[in-house]
């Protein structure tokens, strides 16, 4: 992937943007005129993708130096671009690039997640996460329940917004393997133990046939956490104590496992 051609001095960047925008609109209009499956449609779709590859390139560059080759990032970003071209509705009063950006970035981030690479979290947030984790564990112990954001903020001496931001980053950038114990924590008791009885809890649910094999594929710990939360009604803190991991880790496992199940069932995440 090469840099966008240098803009000659006679044409401003603004002019070029306007040109891309006009061409995009014209191509989407043309796309709408052709029936699905027609060869012209394929051609127009390709042109739209080509036209916006510089956008993918630009976005992919923002994730450079994070352990993944730029080419790979451009490639997965292009998948996001193609999805955006297929889903974009020109009737909507929004520019295509605005619409496509989150989808492209989403694909790139998903790539990092799938590869298990750490997206670099600013040092400040890393430290915040660490103190959040400690404060949450301590307060849970002291109070006998999960703490509130205000309580955590007071304990570590930051404001509530910082706590929320830290929690957000803990969720968004978790790159831990689902089954990895958190640093400093030892593996809890065998997870496979109570699985047979937990399965009975599922009996009352008329879940789709396809769910059963998906649940069977889950790691024993993920499955256990899922069942404890949704069928036994335990709170995240209780599960954390039971399984021997932190509440934040339980939350991440739940969110990830649900996404995994959804994807497996063919529902968009």
């Amino acid at each position: 992937m090469t840099e966008q051609p240098t803009v000659s001095s006679t044409r401003s960047v603004g002019d070029q943007r306007a040109e891309t925008r006009d061409r995009t609109l014209a191509l989407f209009a043309a796309l709408a005129e052709h029936p699905e499956e027609s060869p012209q449609r394929e051609n127009i779709r390709n042109q739209l993708v080509q036209l916006h590859l510089p956008l993918v390139d630009h976005l992919a560059r923002r994730f450079r130096n994070r352990g993944e080759p730029l080419d790979d990032l451009v490639q997965v970003g292009s998948i996001g671009l193609i999805k955006s071209v297929d889903r974009f509705d020109p009737e909507r009063q929004v520019e295509f690039s605005t619409y496509a950006t989150p989808t492209i970035v989403g694909e790139i981030k998903r790539h990092f997640r799938d590869k298990g690479w750490a997206i670099r979290v600013p040092r400040r947030l890393q430290e915040l996460r660490l103190s959040l984790s400690t404060a949450t564990a301590d307060l849970t112990q002291e109070l006998g329940r999960a703490p509130t954001v205000a309580e955590i903020a007071e304990r570590i001496g930051v404001n509530q917004d910082d706590v929320l931001e830290g929690l957000e980053s803990a969720n968004a950038y978790s790159t831990l393997s689902l089954d990895a114990p958190e640093a400093g924590e030892t593996e809890g008791p065998s997870m496979a133990d109570a699985l047979g009885t937990d399965d009975d809890a599922l009996e009352g649910v008329e879940y789709r046939e396809s769910l059963k094999p998906l649940l069977a594929q889950l790691e024993p710990r993920e499955k256990r956490i899922l069942l404890l939360r949704f069928f036994k009604g335990m709170t995240q803190s209780q599960i954390a104590a039971d399984v021997g991991i932190s509440q934040m880790h339980v939350s991440r496992v739940l969110a990830r496992t649900l996404t995994q199940l959804r994807e497996g069932l063919g529902t968009p995440p």
């Binding site: 069928f231 709170t235 649900l258």
Partner: protein, 128 residues
């Protein structure tokens, strides 16, 4: 069911890429109510799950209308998707089980051209 009066409203494109905005808004409001981390994280996942239920039937290129009702001990989140053929999610399904475990109350309704999910989460009592 009567129309709720929202304290906070938010409209986002009906696209999974925007759900983080809704999650963050939900967590922010719950924190203001002194919800515990358990409550907050449950709500975050619940909102995700609700949207995952709605998005497949949302009209392409439409918006999700999200409304919050903030009461002293209780946060209600309502998400409405416009849909060509609105249908209520199955109450026997796995997703519904997940929602009812995460929220104190869950409700769904359809109007002409729209489907709405309502989640209410009451704050845990702060005494252990």
């Amino acid at each position: 069911m009567t129309q709720l009066t929202y304290d906070v409203s938010l409209r986002i494109p009906a696209d999974g890429a925007y759900l983080s905005i809704l999650r963050t808004a939900t967590a922010g409001l719950a924190a203001r109510l002194d919800f515990t981390l358990d409550d907050i994280e449950d709500l975050r996942i619940a909102v995700d799950e609700a949207c995952a239920l709605l998005l497949p039937q949302a009209t392409l290129g439409s918006e999700l209308a999200c409304g919050f009702v903030v009461e002293p001990d209780c946060l209600t989140v309502e998400v409405t998707a416009s849909s060509p053929e609105p249908r209520e999610p199955s109450r026997d399904g796995f997703a519904w089980t997940v929602l009812t475990a995460l929220a104190s109350e869950v409700d769904a309704r359809t109007d002409s051209g729209a489907v709405t999910l309502t989640l209410t989460r009451r704050r845990e009592s702060l005494s252990p």
